[in-house]
Symmetry: C2
Subunit: 430 residues, 2 copies
């Protein structure tokens, strides 16, 4: 029997919204937002979308008006009562009341700020300018929208059963990956795939498949809305935007050199335990670790995000050992374009030598590689990065020069200040 009311109600939707909730974002955005709320409420920044896969000319086949409709829909969202209750009442990383009442009150009143969109050379120039605390919220939904609009554009011409088989293939692929991970005793894997997911429903499916397939080895999802609905842990820590903005705001080279550690100082006032996982690669991991203050090696762990995983993990172990720390008590979270081969290889290499966590992203939630002609559904390397703070350009170096961004002269200055020598280029897949 058809539920006529539902069907008629569905007629009233003008679009099929991709992002339908303020919480359809990564958990670390909320953690960072609280830190920004407390310390940088008046800082103004600009975020911009960068499609590093230039060969995929998104603006040629994703309709600009559809993109505007989706972005406009996000601007109508507000935190719902149930979502607010979840944030207030939930336990995150074993801690209750992680978010202060004043921050949650701000989040309840939050509305997404305006965006600026134009087309140039087959790409969308999509930027968000304004208070850091507001513009930072755009990163994940903007990326998710662009990625899903691209999927929709490709899927539009497919038949019903062709589509079903497409998803059958994708499900089989995810499940076979989950079966391989399940064979790794005690492995810990989290979904980090919101931003570059194929689509919301697909990410939700992947998470549910991991809940069933991985059991205790599934740590949770970075997506707050899915964590809420599926009653699993919301996971994540922090991202490059913090040191990038802190660094951009530094007035001298000395302040610049200290900026990454200022981030850690602020962060450890706000968060403890498993949230004290540092992201050392913003301006080069090696220099960061060498100059790190004593208290930094007491942190719970390190996220390895742009260095080859084995090299990055060995560097962390050597650093902890040199600082008199026991690496087996430390946590390494790997999160750079991981697929199962990388996870298996890294797990086998480090298992028993330190605690391991894997943040599995795009190649979990958007691996449709080879399923349609011309790789039209292969994931692209698209990011939304902070490009300036209070009018000053930001810089990111990372451990992979292919990922570096910022004005050339600023990159040169940062390399000098952070003692970055020759780096190894690695292909950026996603």
């Amino acid at each position: 029997m058809i539920d006529i009311a539902s069907r008629v109600y569905n007629h009233t939707w003008k679009i099929d919204p991709i992002v339908r909730s303020v919480l359809d974002t990564d958990f670390y955005k909320l953690l960072m937002a609280q830190t920004i709320y407390r310390r940088h409420f008046h800082t103004r920044v600009t975020f911009g979308i960068i499609n590093r896969t230039r060969s995929v000319r998104l603006a040629d086949f994703v309709d600009e008006s559809e993109l505007r409709e989706q972005l406009d829909h996000v601007r109508t969202l507000k935190l719902t009562r149930g979502e607010s209750t979840w944030l207030r009442g939930n336990m995150f990383y074993g801690k209750r009341q992680m978010f202060s009442p004043d921050f949650i009150a701000w989040l309840e009143s939050f509305r997404f700020p305006p965006y600026h969109l134009e087309k140039r050379d087959g790409q969308f120039e999509l930027t968000f300018e304004g208070p850091w605390i507001e513009t930072t919220m755009w990163e994940v939904p903007a990326l998710a929208i662009i990625n899903e609009l691209r999927s929709r554009a490709v899927l539009r011409d497919m038949g019903r059963f062709e589509l079903q088989v497409l998803y059958a293939r994708a499900m089989t692929r995810v499940w076979e990956k989950v079966e391989r991970l399940r064979a790794l005793e005690g492995v810990n894997v989290a979904d980090f795939g919101t931003r570059r997911r194929h689509g919301f429903l697909w990410q939700d499916w992947c998470v549910q498949a991991m809940i069933e397939g991985l059991g205790d080895s599934f740590l949770g999802t970075s997506n707050c809305l899915i964590a809420l609905r599926r009653e699993v842990e919301a996971t994540g820590t922090n991202a490059h935007e913090l040191p990038m903005v802190y660094a951009a705001l530094a007035d001298t080279d000395e302040e610049l050199a200290q900026a990454p550690y200022r981030v850690l100082l602020d962060w450890q006032q706000d968060y403890e335990g498993n949230l004290r996982v540092m992201l050392p690669d913003t301006f080069g991991t090696t220099g960061f670790l060498a100059a790190a203050p004593d208290w930094a090696d007491k942190w719970t762990g390190i996220r390895i995000d742009s260095k080859e995983p084995i090299a990055g993990g060995e560097e962390a172990i050597a650093w902890w050992r040199a600082r008199g720390q026991d690496p087996t008590e430390k946590l390494a979270i790997f999160s750079d374009a991981l697929d199962v081969d990388d996870i298996v290889r890294t797990y086998r290499h480090f298992h028993g030598r330190m605690k391991l966590g894997f943040g599995w992203g795009t190649l979990l939630t958007n691996d449709f590689r080879g399923f349609v002609a011309g790789g039209a559904l292969d994931p692209i390397s698209i990011v939304c990065k902070v490009v300036s703070a209070d009018g000053r350009p930001t810089v990111k170096l990372s451990d992979n020069p292919t990922k570096a961004m910022g004005p050339a002269e600023e990159i040169a200055r940062y390399k000098r200040v952070f003692h970055v020598s020759a780096q190894t280029e690695r292909e950026v897949l996603v």
Copy 2:
């Protein structure tokens, strides 16, 4: 929104019925039933289920009471008004009013007769004894029920996503087969997979996938209910039970030798065109063709069901040529345990030399081979055959001695009467 009424209504089902319609059967059953109705209304026969895959001890894991509930449910079915209208109003093989009003009136009043069920040596002994016109109707639903109960028994312990991935794999497999068939220009394929299907919904999915994937190359389905619902052709002709019963009723060796041709004589009074496709292998194809009367070579085609397809097709071509017929005007329907490799190979061999049709059965609607441990979902070779008629045992030889059935002395007599010499054994997969 949940449709509460539907959900509550669903509570009232005591079981999840496998066969829910008199029309959930093969079309050829209705064609044969009409011939039986007209000419053999008082003949009594016994049908019996035979699981040729003895290693699968069905009664060890399929619950007898569940089987009884399913069979009992079938006994409550009656032709619905819409189904009757479809039979009266539909065009079958280009012909309207294929079924006479008196036969349809009989079918409207038809109820499935009693069954006899016991367990022996890990197998079900399931037999149907009574008027041929009634017991013949049990063949397809009884087989479909046993096959689906077996599937359900295996699936019962699987998780939700494990199940979804199982079907994802099966969908992918069917679709890849369809893609291979689509590449064969002008190929004609029909679904013949009702009896040994994995389940009703799965057969329905396979048919829909073929509708979309094969387009004009999809001839239709043998399943009347699915043909009705999906608005495609109902396909099929006749089966071994006709010559088997005609032969068993013969009083002398001379009458026995003529029995297969009596079947053809009766059939061509009832049906024309594409329904005049003879099934020559019941007592050996070679002898059947050699002794066939002149008018037989005027028939539209031949179904090749137990001989190796290339050999069977070449034999048909040679026979037509020897009789002065043009093979390119003739139709060969292949239907023995076909999978795509067989279809491709046979198509390539005969394309352009005669008209080709492929009745794709078990390996379309029940190919879950290798998807669960121990091959627990691999199809089995299970049949429901007429074993006696008016108290006399029936015999089937076929072109594959592995498929022969009947008392040994009767098999010997039939071989003598039908001049059957050495035959080639072929493994019976399904």
